[in-house]
Amino acid sequence: MTEAAGKRPEFRNINAFKDLPTYRWPAAAIVSGMHRFSGVVMFLLLPLVLWLFDKSISSEISFSRFRNAFNNGAGGVVLKLVVLVLIWAYLTHFFAGLRHVWSDVSHAAVTKQRGATTAKFSLAASLVLTVLLGAKLFGLY
């Protein structure tokens, strides 16, 4: 029997703040991480989504309350910022999900090059649309 060539290092309990930044983060990894993160964000914002749906659709009176909530000084700005986070999360999740479904049905989409291209595209598309819709939300155009 040969002697054990030293104990193999075992990595457990990685520290998210210390260890994760040392990882390599290619575009596909960022998309994957953001896909999960945006999903959890939307889960947490679900009460807000339902509140928005409820107020906007129940009656004329609730609709004007819905509208006023966005134009209510500092509170309105906070609401707009939270809704902007929601918009970002939705778009990120949407494009990352489309990319996922596409790679499920196409062998060509799962090559290393195409994976990197589609990852960059989904990141860019979700960020550009977030900026555009955010500008609309804050009344810049």
């Binding site: 999960r36 999903g39 939307m42 339902l50 659709i57 129940s58 009656s59 949407f94 479904v101």
Partner: protein, 121 residues
């Protein structure tokens, strides 16, 4: 037919995750279709979108059916995702079970709220 329950239940094997995996895709496509249908109606109208136009989108019975199916699909989709996240990060089985139960109860409650709102229009 082979018995697959009671003491003869097969507790190992492949395709235990395939139902959730497939459901995740199907519900995702359903939600994407719903998004496009709502978006198309918002973009194809002229003038300001007030209460009448917004509520009018959800008034037809066909749209109610699509929205209802989307709400159910959304809940299933969120459940699969949250289950995955909890399995990855919450290791103590007891805590994880409690959190998973809370997620299910919460999602079913939210679906009820959404459906109630939908039928107000």
């Amino acid at each position: 037919m082979a018995v697959n329950y009671g003491s003869r239940r097969t507790v190992v094997g492949a395709h235990y995750g395939i139902r959730d995996w497939l459901a995740q895709r199907v519900t995702a496509v359903l939600m994407a279709v719903f998004t496009l249908v709502v978006l198309a109606q918002l973009l194809l109208t002229r003038g300001e979108i007030g209460y009448d136009k917004w509520a009018g989108i959800f008034a037809p019975q066909a749209m109610k059916m699509l929205t209802f199916a989307t709400i159910v699909g959304l809940v299933y989709h969120v459940w699969v995702g949250m289950r995955e996240v909890l399995m990855d990060y919450v290791k103590p089985v007891g805590v994880r079970l409690v959190l998973q139960i809370l997620v299910i109860v919460w999602l079913v409650g939210c679906a009820g709220w959404a459906i109630q709102v939908l039928w107000r229009v």
